[in-house]
Symmetry: C2
Subunit: 334 residues, 2 copies
């Protein structure tokens, strides 16, 4: 039985969306057990009770505007902190929250703890590509600064994730750079390039430009946290702006545009579906001793379900355990 | 009379698109004089001769795959190099090319030369916002690495550009960062934040996230060249992917989608127009002794016309001259 600790109080639609997502997951996956941390009365209101779900009551929670590290230290009984502690103490195998990202990163680092040999865990998400395959990118902003050695670890971790969780044989790993030639980039990129080229355990395909990301140029993209964060937010912002503009073009376009929209509805919906990668689950703080997964703050029940499914796959594939082994071997051999 | 040196041989559609854009500009602006550098016979084939245009023949040109610095050094008679030299030697006031970006940057730095006091010229472009106003961003990749002092200069230069060339009073200057709070970012961002806060000549509005760029959150966005390059290419790649997906959704959507498209055509065209910022001209290597402007490689006659218009505005507003004064005062007072 896979035990997943869920912060029921994090996210814009908590606890309703969280609990409803949990209901769906429990109904479909018979090999998971869920611990819900939060306000018992509110949780009960939405919960379909089974013998595989329990509620651990707490009044405290971390708010979206709380200062992350401080919140983790001071709010010792917050739902997110209790969920992380359950993993730390072996009562759960993974933790999931749709709450304050910074606080979950802090809880991951300080409560769940790093894999021995991993210097700086990175935030990994699966992003959409036009062919529907998607790609994994890290670090998306767990760190403001990274060294080449961190990026080297992200390449190995990302490749592990793509292979074990997404089932991609020999994932193509690319380094985000300002040009495709080997000589491109700042010293950080040049140093990383050399490390990735020498890393036998991954299939390194070289430098990749941001323009090509959504075209599926690689299965795993390695970036420093600052650039990765900027690229992720640019993809989101650009997609939202264009979809918003499309909507306003239809609204301002008079009767012709409106009739056109009625006919095109299905086609537009399929476009939206390609862009929507909430099916791929949440963002993983990867490099920790257990899966710590952040669902989007605006998650609905369906996204929470997808994120639980993702956590289940991570546990099933033992991707964290394999990472622990990989990096402990590396440490020993050094 | 404003004298503009134009590389007639650079770009995917050279010399046709270049010369036709020049024809349009000469017909509309009576205060410009154009020098066309390149293959005389080919240029003549498209040129509408006037007394304000001259051809300086050369057989040599820089190719898109030439190694930039090497090409500038070795191909001394390339159309781009001759155009840059005309500026250096006072025979022209500005240079425009749609050719090899790296080579134009090198020609700008090594032939035209930096403004005294400017450490590292930055690449600036006007990008689209949903309200149609656009924003200026730099550095978009002239440098792979920048210091806080460079970013400080970009803020001043960008503000100068927005005010003088785009006519924006008191441009709002934002620093691209991984969060909006003052405390966010790596050491480079924190140091830059302090410098911009203390800079009286600009209207600094604080940190800006990449998600908000197209929403018009600021008139000028300051970034290091590596991140700026990644963000620019992500905007381009995401927009192209979505428009491509929209097209394929229509194609695959059967007769309903096709009828819908016929009705929605105008609305979709207006969407495309908002996203198309070629009207704003080309990318300026800003911080040099004269306007050095790169038109997009795929430029058609209309884009070349827009870029000439932009160069004319730069000369008219004396934005470079004002920058020279600003930075020479700074140097003296230090």
């Amino acid at each position: 039985m896979k035990k997943i600790a869920v912060d029921a109080m994090g996210g814009d639609h908590a606890p309703k969306a969280i609990v409803e997502g949990v209901n769906q997951a429990l109904a479909i996956f018979s090999d998971i057990e869920i611990q819900l941390y939060g306000d018992e009365a509110k949780i009960k209101h939405y919960l379909t009770a089974t013998e595989r779900v329990s509620i651990i009551h707490t009044d405290e929670k971390i708010n979206s505007d709380d200062e992350p590290a401080k919140a983790i230290r001071r709010k010792k009984n917050a739902s997110m902190v209790l969920a992380a502690r359950a993993v730390k103490e072996g009562r759960a195998d993974a933790v999931l929250s749709a709450g304050n990202t910074g606080a979950l990163l802090a809880a991951g680092l300080f409560v769940v703890g790093r894999i021995k040999g991993i210097e700086r865990p990175g935030l990994l998400s699966t992003l959409p590509t036009v062919d529907g395959q998607g790609f994994d990118m890290l670090d998306l902003g767990a760190n403001a600064e990274n060294t080449a050695s961190h990026l080297h670890q992200y390449a190995v971790l990302g490749s592990f994730y793509a292979e074990n969780v997404r089932g991609i044989a020999k994932p193509r790993v690319g380094l985000l750079n300002n040009g495709t030639e080997e000589s491109k980039g700042d010293p950080l990129r040049k140093e990383t390039y050399a490390l990735l080229l020498a890393e036998d355990s991954i299939h390194f395909v070289g430098n990749v430009e941001a323009r090509e990301l959504l075209n599926g140029v690689a299965d795993v993209i390695v970036a420093d946290g600052f650039t990765g964060n900027a690229v992720l937010k640019t993809v989101e912002g650009t997609a939202m702006s264009i979809m918003g503009q499309l909507k306003s073009a239809i609204e301002k376009g008079g009767w012709k545009a409106k009739i056109g929209y009625l006919f095109m509805k299905d086609a537009l919906r399929s476009l939206k579906k390609t862009l929507d990668y909430s099916d791929a689950g949440g963002a993983v703080l990867f490099g920790l001793n257990a899966p710590v997964v952040k669902a989007h703050g605006s998650s609905d029940a369906k996204s929470i379900f997808s994120t639980i499914k993702q956590v289940r796959t991570m546990l099933d594939s033992q991707v964290v355990k394999k990472s622990v082994e990989k990096f402990s071997i590396k440490e020993d051999s050094q």
